[in-house]
Every structure is written in C-alpha cells, then in structure tokens.
Amino acid sequence: MTIAIQLAYLIASILFILGIKFMNKTKDARRGNMLSSVGMLIAILATLVQIQSVTFVEIIVCIILGSAIGLYYAYKVEMTKIPEMVALFNGFGGLASFAVALSEFYLKSGADTPEIDGIASTSIILSVLIGGVTFTGSMVAFLKLNGSISGSPITFKGQHPLNLLLLIAFIVASVLTYMNQSDPTFIIILIVISLLLGILTVIPIGGADMPVVISLLNSYSGMAACATGFILNNNVLIVAGSLVGASGIILTQIMCKAMNRSLTNVLLGGFGQTVATAQADGPSIVVKEIGVEETAMLFDSASSVIVVPGYGMAVAQAQHVIRELMEQCEKRNIDFKFAIHPVAGRMPGHMNVLLAEANISYDKLVEMEQINDEFSNTDLVFIVGANDVVNPAARTNPQSPIFGMPILNADKARTVIVSKRSMGKGYAGVENELFGYPNCLMLFGDAKQTITKVVSEMKDMS
C-alpha cells in the first residue's frame, strides 16, 4: 500500500513538471494547467488513502468550504484585479504552511515526552518563518494593490536596524524553542516575529514595485511548502515547492532587470519618494494638445500603428475599446501591434491577460526586445496609460532616477499620441521629456471615453 501511495506522489510530481513544461507554448498552456491540477488531485487522493481518513467528515467539510471560496473568487474576479487575487492566494498558501508547521509542533510537543529532533524543529521553525512572512507580506501587498492602504512607500527611521534586530531575536527564540520543547512560550515569540517581519518588509515598498513583490512572495509560498515537505518527509511537497520557488525567483529577476534595479534596492524600498522632491523644481515641459477628430484622422492616414499600454489603461478599463480601435484600423489595412514592456501593469504579464480578455489575438502582443527596432519605421505610436516605460530620460539623462532602465523606443516613431488623464507624473515622479518632443501630441481625458470618441469618428469616416 505504501508503495502505491509513494508511486502516486511520484506521478503527481511528474504531472507538475509536465504542467509547467506545457506552459512554454501558449497553445499548450491550458492543457498544462489541466495536467498540473490532475497531479494535485492524485496527490490529495493518495494522502486520503494514506491517512485512512479517520476524520472523513471534517475533511470533506473543509474541502467543500475551501473549494466554494476558491471557485467563487476565481470566477468572480475581474482581470484588472488578478494581482490582488494572486497576492491574496499567495498569502493563503503561506498561512496554510504556517498552520501545518504549528500543528505538527503542537502535536509533537504535546506528547508526554516531547521529542523533536534538530532536523524536524529546524524545518518547523523555517516553515513558520517563511509561511508567516508570506502571509502578512502578501496581505500588505494585497491592501496596497486594492488601495485600502496607501501605495506609497512607508518608511521610518531605524526600519532596517529594527528588521535586523527582529531577525536576531528570531534566531535566539528558535534555539530556545528547540531546547524547551514542552514550553510553548518561545514558539509564540517566533509566530509574532515572523508575522511582524512580513509586514515590515513589504510596507517600505511602493505600489509600482508590486510586480517584484508579488513574484517574490510567490517564490516564498513555494519555499514554505518545501519547508513543510521537510517536516513531513514528503517528496511531492519538496518537488512542487521548489518548482514554485524557482518560478517566483525567475520572475523576480526579470522584473528587476526590466527596471534596471537590484532586488536589494527594491526591497530596501522608499523608491519614488525621495526622487519626487528632488525633481520638483525641474524645468516644466511645454506640450502640444490634440483633439479627438485629429486623432482619428491621424489613425486613418497611418499605415502602421503600435499601441503601448500601461497600468493606466487597466484603471480606465480601456482595453475593450482599444480592440474596437484595432478593428477600425485593420479594416483600413493598417498594421496594428501592441508593445508590451515587462513591467507594464501590476504583475508580470498583466497587460497580456487584459488584452487577451478584450479578445485581442496574442500574436499581436510583442515583447520589448522584439519590437524596439520597429518604432523608427512606425507612423503612429499610441501610448495609453503608460509613462515611465517610454521616458527617453532613461536613455539620455544620467541624472534621472530611471536612467538605465530599458524602455520602449516610442519616441522614435514619426508621430506619438499620448492618452493621459492629466499632466501628472509617472510613478517614479519624473517629468517625461517625451511629452515635450516635437513629434508628440497629448490626448487628454479619460482613456476609455476619448478612445470611444476616436473610434466613432473613424466609423463615420468610412
């Protein structure tokens, strides 16, 4: 029987690996997700057989409750809110590992002669730490993303020494927990510190750095599952946990690279705050405005168009009306593409999901490296709710805080139209020189409303 269970875990692990492998191609991705979920089902069934479910009723109740919440949220959530959902679910994953580790601790320490060896207690403590940090860190990220708390960095004096102090206290309490296994005081100290550390490490990080934070927390939730695998001596947890851990780390690296910042720089936080004051008295930029009709005419006469979407597009919910704009252009045989910057949106790949939801074919969405040379041969670039990712200061101005960040070469196009609500600055708090360029025109107003008008103008023309 044990062999059958172990084999089932092995099959589950293989299915997880294949599931991720299938994600390498967009057309196979859905099947990959399916394989992975079958792997999960096999792992769950094998565990139910293994424990001979003496508490069948409770298990069923918990699973039904969890599934109902999960399904409700999964089908209800708007695509603009996916980052919030991922942050929340990361937190749940972390909290689950945290609770499993504590459960194991109380079970063992509650025995008449508590005996938790060094390996087991190290695993439990690590699982509490990583799980706890993942939980509270994700909750802070969630609250920042949905606007319940301010997205701007929260910093205070002595923040870093405090974190260090807490970490040292954690190590001391860990040793004490191990040495006094029947005394539950120390594990409570560990719980409190790990929850605090999660909050303290995420509050100094600004809203636009959330793609990095979510990726990192994703990785932590995998590592927490891994640590739980060490507690339970279970291979499938370690395989699955390390896959997720690796995935989160790679995405974190991609995001940092796309912002030309080191992970340390992101984690220390405070970005955008000091910068804004430093730049406040810079020279102001004179911009040229354009109206809806002229915009429609420019689209009508162009032969190639590239749209640069940013988080502002998601906020204005303009993705559907942009598809209508695309249809109008395609009727006129205008080449129409989207240029996606890796950090556009609030999580990696966020723009792609939003545009896919608006029924835009994924082969129209082009990555930065592939499209950057095309801008100079493009008639019209339409920037919707993006700012820092097209700021030429990143190339030209060594004083700029975003200098060195890879950007989309939108400024190289013949004409650039920027759809923007007002002259507000981007997240980095920097003036965007592009707006003052001779080939750049500003289309002010809510993106959804103005683009709707442009589309109806275009319809009238034909």
Partner: protein
C-alpha cells in the same frame, strides 16, 4: 529523521529547483500572469500536509484545529488558483 533521509530530501530540493529554473526560463512573457497563478495553485500542495494534520480524532487539540484551518486555506489556494488560471488561459486566442 535520519541524516540519510535528510540528504535525499536535499537532493530532491536541489534537482527540482534546477529543473524549475530551466523550465520556467522558457515560459514566454505573455504567459507570466497565468504562470504565476498556476504556480500559486501548485504551492497549495501543502494541502497534503494539511490533510495529515487534521486527521486526529476529537476536537480538543489545537493541532487538529490548525490542521483544519490549513486545509480550508490550502483548498482555496488549489481550487481557486487552478480555476482562475484556466479562466485566463481560455482567453488567450490566436486569430
């Protein structure tokens, strides 16, 4: 746990992480959001631990209640994670 079995677990950890890096580096940026929500669902594998933890008779022990809480949370993570990933991937179409 013996040192031998710990070393085997570390082997698995190292190899699986390496495999993870190799596989995920090949995922196109278009799919990074579904990749993240999908891997989020995979991290719900801790559900296995939760099932083991709540398998105790009686309702008086703290460890059982923690296990049940973990089971609910991990199920939300697994079911919600896979469902939303599928919902997203269904939208990716080529015309």
């Amino acid at each position: 746990m013996s040192i031998e079995s710990l070393i085997i677990l570390i082997y698995i950890l190292v190899l699986a992480s390496y495999l993870g890096f190799e596989l995920i580096a090949k995922v196109p940026p278009t799919l990074h959001t579904p990749l993240m929500s999908g891997s989020n669902a995979i991290s719900g594998i801790t559900i296995v631990g939760a099932l083991l933890a709540c398998n105790e008779l009686g309702y008086t022990s703290l460890s059982k209640w923690l296990g049940m809480a973990a089971l609910v949370l991990a199920t939300v993570n697994v079911v919600g994670g896979y469902a939303v990933t599928d919902r997203m991937l269904k939208m990716f179409k080529k015309k």
